[in-house]
Assembly symmetry: C2
Homo-oligomer: 121 residues x 2
């Protein structure tokens, strides 16, 4: 069995593009993805799954149709399935996303920010 730790700093150093999740681990059917965020993402929802955001550095606002939550380093939030949301990084932000394998970053919205899925780093 592989006994190497997964070092998040080292994994973040392997890529630089924004809003393009990189998978670093799987727990059953759930994937751990690292994302570098900057600027506004698109409004979207995921009909079939919750989505967890853990901010590693910087800050992320997640906007909802009825409010918003601001996450700073060491804070997390779970967006329930079906809830429309828009992540906005007003400063550079590094975060870990958790969601089942197969979930596309733009959910039901599509568009030019849709990233290739299941890319490991």
């Amino acid at each position: 069995m592989n006994h190497e730790p997964i070092n998040l700093e080292a994994k973040f150093a392997c890529f630089s593009d924004h809003w393009s999740p990189r998978v670093v681990a799987e727990l059953n059917d759930t994937q751990f993805k690292l994302v570098k965020a900057e600027g506004e993402f698109v409004w979207h929802s995921h009909a079939d799954t919750d989505e967890a955001f853990i901010v590693v550095s910087g800050a992320l606002d997640i906007e909802f149709r009825d409010g918003s939550v601001r996450l700073e380093a060491g804070e997390m939030f779970v967006v329930p399935r079906g809830v429309e949301h828009r992540p906005v990084a007003r400063e550079a932000c590094r975060l870990m996303l958790l969601e089942p394998k197969g979930v596309v970053n733009t959910g039901d919205a599509g568009g030019q920010l849709t990233a290739e899925n299941d890319v490991w780093v």
Copy 2:
């Protein structure tokens, strides 16, 4: 909808006992649990699920029958289902565990370190 961030430092400040996981969030059927670890846990395995460890502060060794992995702050590891392991914290360690709801901390081993399950903080 509740728009409060989950602040991990604040959650860790709510308890002090060791090896007693506190749930802070759920993603579908997966729970995020915080644990304060110190000393040796018991050898055990979980037949039906992987288990993810993310070290927040301090360091954790996870021993296997064929080796071990040392995790420091910002590092993670996923123990595959069925693999016997023993977490050992040679210094005080704070970590996040991820596993499905219902998983007991001592797995197949039981014993006095078995903690009450599904305790939220």
